[in-house]
Amino acid sequence: MPTATTDPTAGTRSAGAGTSSSRGDDQVRPTLLAGWHAHRRADLAAHVAYHGAPPLPRRGDTSWAERFAGVVDASGLTGRGGAAFPSATKLGNVRSARGRPTLVVNAMEGEPASAKDKVLLSCVPHLVLDGAELAACALDAGLIVVCVPDAHDDTAAAVQRAVVERVGTGHAPVPVEVVRPPGRYVGGEESALVSWLNGGPGAPTWRPDKRRPLAIGRGAALVHNAETLAHMALVARHGPASFRATGSPEAPGTSLVTVSGGVEHPGVYEIAMGTALGAIVNRARPTDDVKAVLTGGFGGSWVPAAALGTAYTPRAMAEVGGVVGAGVLVVLTRGTCGIAETARVARYMAGESAGQCGPCVFGLPSVADDLELLAFGTADPSLLARLEMRVAAVEGRGACRHPDGVARMVRSALAVFATDAAAHAARGPCAFAGTASVLPSITFLSPNRARAGSGGRA
């Protein structure tokens, strides 16, 4: 599992200047974790010493919001929570809505293989708060709400400390509240989050028209991922050109990637967008030859080792069947069984359904049943065909994208591990099916198996 859950800095040790990656340029850049690497301190004084004060609007500056939106637009920043939606467009949508908006900082990170929100809020909380305040000022929001899962006490305490530090310093133009919604997989889905903030159950809602902005009380809700806001804080200070100096034209800037699975140094790495997938994986030191990588998390997609040369951008990854999403990579090394790991992920995801939509409630356990039979049992002759049919039957049939993610993940497994799937179907479980899992969720669910999980020579 990502070491960041216990020590938020463990996996970031080799990040820092490495964000310049393949460009071979050692110049220090204004990146998310640069301040942390310079001072190893998360307090306001260290933050301001490194980054300077955030360029908040002067009183009476009526054109500031317009200029800020323009700068964000020119930077090409996209949402880092999974959807890669242009951040400036999102600002515009809410700015045109009625009522006084609320800015929601989404640090829910329900994905078990992700730890970047924890790292950001523990190591550079002031960068996230800067971004939240800038976005809040641009929207004339009356409140900033930082959402940290109920189980993540250390992270919440770190943000709370930062919030208190800012009071009375001129760094707190908008009131900030830290709240603790239930931290399940779909808890961070924006309609689920907004439902909870409105006093509801915190489950996704059905929104046939996604263009209609979400609302908290009578005002609009702007939900931004914590990393996106931290980038905004840097873009506002240093301008769009500085942001675009890293990454690729199509996907500018840096990104936080959580690498786990069969690696010696699981953790959160800040990489330049467009870095080769294999180069990112190698920074975490795989324990053996890489067989496949689960990209985009448990609702993401497996890619084979042959795709390790692919540039890590949403478009290039999509071309090889991969997903950037919220920046999650789970490495599967030689000597493990892709079918068994897929069955474990599917079972976990079935258990994480919000329990609202029939096709998800009944479909995901059926998919998991089939996969477990294929992975560990004796497959009946119709199993593979039935599994494919069930995967198709859950896709696009829920109020949220949870079943779609599972469908995508299982389909990719059946393609990437096609030979293994056929062998399992014909001859039963392979020699590695019983090997302990390398998945973060499995270590999360049964901590006593955590140490046996790396499967290699570690």
Partner: protein
């Protein structure tokens, strides 16, 4: 203007009346939940679809106006 059917997946509890009334537009998955394709429906089915919407015990079956023309049914890409 034409009409499309939609299912609110949270409200739906697999009563299946819609599939009985409108087999042309609705099939059921193995768990009994309706599958609709979301494409504009032929005009002669609109009345039945509205009845199915009215009869749904969960009010989960919805008929909505669509800006698309109802010309693409039966797998043929363009009829006109």
């Amino acid at each position: 203007m034409s009409a499309v059917v939609k299912v609110n997946p949270i409200a739906c509890e697999a009563y299946g009346y819609c599939a009985e009334l409108l087999p042309e537009l609705v099939t059921l998955d193995e768990w009994g939940y309706p599958i609709v394709d979301g494409r504009p429906m032929p005009r002669h089915l609109v009345e039945l679809a509205l009845r199915a919407a009215k009869d749904c015990p969960r009010r989960a079956f919805l008929v909505e106006e669509s800006a698309e023309s109802p010309s693409r049914r039966g797998g043929r890409p363009r009829t006109r």
